[in-house]
């Protein structure tokens, strides 16, 4: 296990180094000069030059990169051009929206997809199966931003039950905060829910055809026990793999839904930072998200070992 952890940490370091290099180069190759975007249409050339200098953009790219990595290693991701605040502080404050949103969406996705997948698999090629699969087909087909708009139209414009967007902060109360995140979480989780339900169904169907399931049934084991203790547990490996990947996708999907629901989260921060060419923020966020995804992947690997005792790392 120890060797495994060391290997994992080393892999994390290499991944992050690679990501940092990639994002650094990409944001600099992007056409569009941050100084121009900051100053707008009425800027004079000498004010542009001054701003470029203040941002350190007049330095050669390798020098800029070395400086950035050096600071990042000391935990300093730089300062936002737009907000004039430390990037780390910005990310943390936006995380108070995006993290609960992603977790809520993931919770919705798992809580809805696995039971539905099981339901469909046990009613293979019967109406229950077809209904569930039609439902999930719909989920795959409807883009998240559109689902978001439809939910807003129904629940806030027509019925007036929920606010159409915005987030007043956790200071306004836990329930108030959760309510603001509910519609976006459903819209965000919809696509992933549909994918996961289909995965669960086919994984379970596969296992249900196995000989040992037949044996268990022949022995007279109760169907519930067969399904949940024998079949589902063995079907969980592909399900967990897919769910792990989906967590990362949920994080990415939040970029669009945070704009639809105008939530002050990490996604909108990223979008705004890209169009404003707020390079330190773009770099910081990408690095941070890459870090999160690597950690989730590691967690999934460890989960494999728990689910299937035959899998051992060493």
């Amino acid at each position: 296990m120890q060797r495994y952890v060391v290997r994992r940490v080393a892999a994390l370091a290499v991944t992050l180094l690679f990501v940092s290099l990639l994002v650094f180069v990409v944001v600099r190759v992007l056409p569009g000069d941050p100084a121009l975007i900051i100053l707008g249409l009425e800027a004079s050339p000498d004010s542009v030059a001054r701003v470029r200098q203040a941002l350190g953009l007049d330095q050669p790219i390798p020098v800029q990169y070395a400086r950035w990595v050096g600071q990042a290693l000391r935990g300093d991701l730089g300062r936002s051009i737009q907000y004039d605040l430390p990037v780390g502080t910005l990310i943390l404050s936006r995380l108070t929206v995006t993290l609960p949103l992603t977790l809520l969406a993931a919770g919705f996705m798992i809580a809805a997809a696995i039971p539905l997948g099981v339901f469909a698999a046990t009613r293979h090629r019967r109406w229950g199966d077809y209904l569930t699969m039609t439902l999930s087909q719909l989920g795959v087909a409807v883009p998240g931003f559109w689902a978001g708009l439809l939910l807003i139209l129904l629940f806030s414009v027509r019925l007036g039950w929920m606010q159409s967007g915005g987030f007043d902060g956790w200071g306004a109360g836990l329930w108030h905060g959760l309510r603001s995140l509910l519609l976006p979480a459903v819209a965000l989780g919809l696509f992933q829910f549909a994918v996961l339900a289909r995965t669960t169904r086919s994984a379970l169907l596969e296992v249900l055809r196995e000989e040992y399931v037949k044996t268990a049934r022949a022995k007279g084991v109760a169907e519930r026990t067969v399904l949940f203790r024998h079949a589902l547990r063995n079907a969980l490996i592909p399900i967990v793999t897919v769910a792990g990947i989906q967590l990362g996708q949920l994080l990415a999907g939040s970029i669009i839904l945070e704009s639809v629901f105008y939530l002050p989260g990490l996604g909108r921060l990223t979008l705004a930072a890209i169009s404003a060419r707020d390079l330190p923020v773009v770099q910081g966020v990408v690095l941070f998200v890459a870090c999160m995804i690597v950690i989730v992947n590691a967690a999934v690997d460890i989960l494999y070992g728990i689910l299937d005792p035959r899998i051992r790392y060493g």
Binding site: L30, P31, G32, D33, L36, I37, I38, L39, G40, L41, E42, A43, S44, P45, D46, S47, V48, A49, R50, V51, Q82, Y83, D84, L85, L90, S93, R94, L149, I152, L153, S156, V157, G160, W161, M162, Q163, S164, G165, G166, F167, G169, H176, R179, L182, S259, V260, F261, Y262, L263, P264, G265, R268, L269, A272, S275, A276, R277
Partner: protein, 502 residues
């Protein structure tokens, strides 16, 4: 039994959700207003962004002179002024005007703000406009004299601009996050990425104003989300961002009012005058004659907005309608193209930024009109940042990389752009430059007007760019919101007189 349990949970959940939302509190004295862009800082003296002005200008900080809702310059922090030779101006300040930090505004603050604008170290975005200032002299606490190097006909207008607000010297370091001024409101809270909250300045020097106690600016970039927010009542006013396509539908909503007004935003088709074939006046005129502006306004803006009569916006006192000189005439356009050596037309590319939806829609209509005279124009949508560096082309860009583009020029009094050969039109006309330079040192209204008329006529005859239409001001507000400005003669969102009808 499991099913029963599931059902119970489902019913409970539904009930929880259905508890009516803490009814979008329409607290009297409080207003929630949507703006599409979050300001990049709140310092009017560091950045020309109109998103900053929408929050700070005239709401938090004010200048010596103000542009009122009719576009007229009115004495503001300066009660009156006096000049005998148009080179020395003496301003008499209003007494008992306090900054929101409690200190009284005095001449020394005016000197500090103007000196700082002139100083190149400050990085003031409009520094050029203060070039004429030679010296600022404090006569006494309420009298200050500005000596100019040369006559500058736009000097008083410069003092009414957003970059000329007066702020206390001791608060200069917090301009970017916590601007202090003499305005009707103070900045209470800025939740980055979400909202800015302004509170009433109880000691505001104009008695009875502001009428609101609290203003919340919400940043909602997406037009669909804005539409949903105004329809569900989560916001009280949408200031910018709802497109003309939604206006007719919103007008039918009995809970809402639609305010349609004028702006100084001239939507302009620009041509790269330094590039063939646009360097040929006949080609530029052909393009001008080929465009049916009426149809562009209908197709792109659902008829909202106004056809412009010249390259100067209609709120400008020197505006003259010169549109007859370049009317819609496709036959003439074809003839001009043939004369210029393009009897079969040519290929062209429109570079437009979809961030401003009207630019793409206008380009679509215009390119179909150009096709009728043989100019085959394709539309290339590029992101705003790229537009700024490829089309607008400031340093380090040397030569603009575009054929034609469309963008709104929101600045009032911006005819000088045509006198700048480095501007992205790249139109270099010494005759026009001379006219403009003369207009800058002519203070006699009649002679100055004559020069402006000449300039507008010349722009029609030379066609360095095509003026299309004035972008309308479209404000959507709940019924009961009063006091919003109808027109927008300056980049400002003045909320001092806004109130809820009782």
């Amino acid at each position: 039994m499991t099913r029963l349990r599931l059902l119970t949970v489902a019913v409970l959940l539904a009930a929880l959700i259905a508890v009516p939302a803490a009814a979008p509190a329409q607290t009297p004295g409080s207003l929630v207003i949507q703006v599409p862009t979050e300001p990049p800082g709140l310092d009017l003296t560091s950045n020309p962004s109109s998103a900053i002005a929408a929050v700070v200008f005239d709401n938090v900080q004010e200048g010596l002179i103000k542009i009122d809702r009719h576009g007229k310059m009115v004495p503001w922090l300066a009660e009156r002024w006096y000049t005998s030779d148009n080179k020395t101006y003496t301003f008499f300040l209003r007494r008992n005007v306090r900054f929101s930090n409690g200190r009284e505004m005095k001449s020394a603050d005016v000197k500090f703000a103007l000196d700082r604008a002139v100083n190149p170290e400050t990085k003031h975005p409009y520094r050029v406009q203060y070039d004429a200032i030679q010296d600022v002299i404090v006569k006494d606490d309420y009298t200050v004299t500005v000596a100019l190097k040369k006559i500058d006909a736009t000097f008083l207008y410069t003092l009414a601009r957003q970059g000329s607000v007066i702020y206390p010297r001791e608060a200069v370091d917090t301009l970017k996050s916590q601007p202090v001024g003499t305005g009707p409101f103070t900045v209470s809270e800025w939740v980055r990425g979400d909202r800015i909250v302004l509170l009433k300045n109880k000691d505001y020097w104009v008695k009875g104003l502001p009428k609101l106690d609290r203003v919340v600016y919400r940043f909602i970039p997406d037009p669909n989300s804005t539409l949903a927010a105004i329809k569900s009542g989560d916001i009280d006013v949408s200031a910018f961002g709802i497109g003309p396509e939604s206006v007719d539908e919103l007008k039918k909503d009995p809970r809402l009012q639609v305010i349609v007004g004028d702006t100084t935003n001239d939507v302009t088709l620009s041509m790269n005058n330094s590039k063939k074939p646009y360097s040929d006046k006949r080609v530029r005129l052909a393009i001008t004659h080929a465009i049916d502006k009426e149809e562009v306004l209908k197709g792109a803006m659902f008829g909202y907005g106004k056809i412009l009569g010249s390259n100067v916006d209609p709120t400008n006192p020197f505006f003259v309608d010169v549109s007859k000189r370049v009317g819609y005439d496709p036959a003439k356009a074809k003839k001009l193209l043939a004369e210029a050596g393009y009897p079969n037309g040519f290929d062209a590319v429109f570079k437009v930024a979809p961030q401003y939806y009207y630019t793409v829609r206008s380009a679509e209509v215009v390119s179909s009109q150009l096709a009728k005279v043989g100019i085959r124009a394709t539309i290339q949508q590029i992101e705003w940042g790229q537009w700024l560096s490829q089309v607008f082309c400031l340093a380090p860009c040397q030569t603009p990389d575009y054929d034609m583009s469309i963008i709104g020029h929101a600045e009032a009094w911006d005819i000088g752009n045509f006198a700048n050969p480095k501007y992205y039109f790249r139109w270099d006309s010494p005759a026009f430059q001379k006219l403009y330079a003369d207009s800058q040192v002519t203070v006699d209204e009649k002679s100055r007007r004559a020069l402006y008329v000449k300039m507008q006529e010349m722009l029609a005859d030379e066609a360095p760019a095509v003026w299309l239409y004035m972008h309308p001001r479209l404000v959507i507000a709940k019924k009961g919101v009063t006091g919003m400005w109808k027109d927008q003669p300056a980049p400002v969102l003045d909320l001092s007189e806004v109130a809820w009808q009782k």
